[in-house]
């Protein structure tokens, strides 16, 4: 560990030269690159809005100061459940950043995540038949 972590003295600098270039998008996550929830956040995991986020009833989540990027995600999910990949594309943010932001929203119980069919349960033959028929009917 670098001994010169003079955090308070120069206005909260939390990295030093050894850290290398800081990835700019991660400034939105206050430098966090991982989320405790990221195991849940597969690219096609669907993010569903919680009613309290729709109602604007954000009491009790005051510990989370919503950044514009959080708001943007909530707005996108209000229209319809969105996959993590779509959220990344629509917000123009790297997937890793979206995962961290979603972790915040999960913690605040503003969204929930509908995980994709677990690999162990794939493939469900009934669903596969439905996919085939659905593709034919396109």
């Amino acid at each position: 560990m670098p001994a010169h972590g003079d955090r308070g003295a120069n206005g909260g600098q939390w990295y030093d030269d050894e850290a290398g270039p800081v990835v700019r998008p991660y400034a939105m996550t206050r430098g966090r690159t991982r989320s405790a929830a990221e195991d849940k956040l597969d690219l096609i995991a669907l993010v569903v809005i919680e009613p309290r986020a729709v109602n604007g009833d954000l009491e009790g989540s005051s510990e989370l100061a919503l950044a514009p990027e959080h708001q943007h995600i909530i707005e996108l999910c209000m229209v319809e459940p969105m996959s993590v990949a779509e959220l990344a594309a629509d917000t123009n943010l790297p997937v890793g950043v979206v995962r961290v932001l979603l972790g915040d929203l999960l913690d605040a119980e503003l969204v929930r995540v509908r995980r994709p069919v677990p690999p162990a349960q794939l493939p469900d033959e009934r669903i596969l038949r439905e996919v085939i028929n659905g593709l034919r009917a396109l």
Binding site: Y26, D42, L43, I44, G96, G134
Partner: protein, 205 residues
């Protein structure tokens, strides 16, 4: 055998919400994005993953003084088959050095299309090998570029040393109907594989 597995998730109306994915793999410039665009109901979206030494534990940078940040683009499209059943198509990053991203993409994938160009067949060897090793059902779509000689599917099968069960389909990645056929062949192949696993072959008398 363990039959004790039970649903642990709460039963709710979202139980019917199913998202599936099919990967579209193949060499650089073989038409992956074109194929996704031909069937996707949305303009193929591009999402980027920022890779940094900090963000990826798989990047062992011990002893490497220079830290680099790079991004990998993944194209994807969406097909809503019915309310609550959505199929996502993911074009895999072409560069070999992003193999670890493939692992994330491949997890839970229902199957894959390996798009091949007969003028550069070797470009798809890596993808074929990848899906074979992981037991992910895949079909080979031979993208029939204008000006390229058309080879019979059997010649492609031989050249790629594919097992007989792997579908090889001639296709035009720009064409919606043609692309649908390729996707259907993948799902049918996945279904066959699933049926085979469920009903083990009876031992010979």
């Amino acid at each position: 055998m363990d039959f004790g597995r039970s649903e642990t998730g709460p039963a709710n109306s979202e139980q019917d919400l199913v998202a599936l994915k099919i990967l579209i793999a193949g060499g650089f410039g073989v038409g992956k994005t074109t194929l996704v665009g031909a069937v996707s109901e949305i303009r193929p979206l591009r999402t980027e993953e920022a890779l940094s030494a900090a963000g990826r534990p798989v990047d062992d940078t011990t002893g490497v003084e220079q830290k680099k940040t790079t991004t990998v683009a993944m194209d994807f499209g969406r097909i809503t088959l019915r309310e609550g059943l959505v199929l996502y198509l993911f074009g895999t990053p072409g560069q070999d050095r992003f193999w670890f991203l493939w692992d994330e993409l491949a997890t839970g994938a229902l199957g894959a299309v390996v798009l091949a160009d007969t003028r550069r067949l070797e470009d798809c060897f890596a993808a074929v090998d990848y899906f074979e090793r992981r037991g992910i059902p895949f079909a080979v779509g031979v993208n029939c570029f204008e000006g390229a000689r058309t080879f019979p599917p059997q010649a492609v099968r031989d050249a790629l040393d594919l097992s007989d069960s792997v579908p090889v389909v001639l296709c035009d990645a720009r064409d919606r109907e043609s692309t649908k056929e390729v996707l259907i062949s993948v799902v049918e192949h996945a279904l066959e594989a699933s049926v085979r696993r469920r009903t083990p072959e009876p031992s010979a008398p």
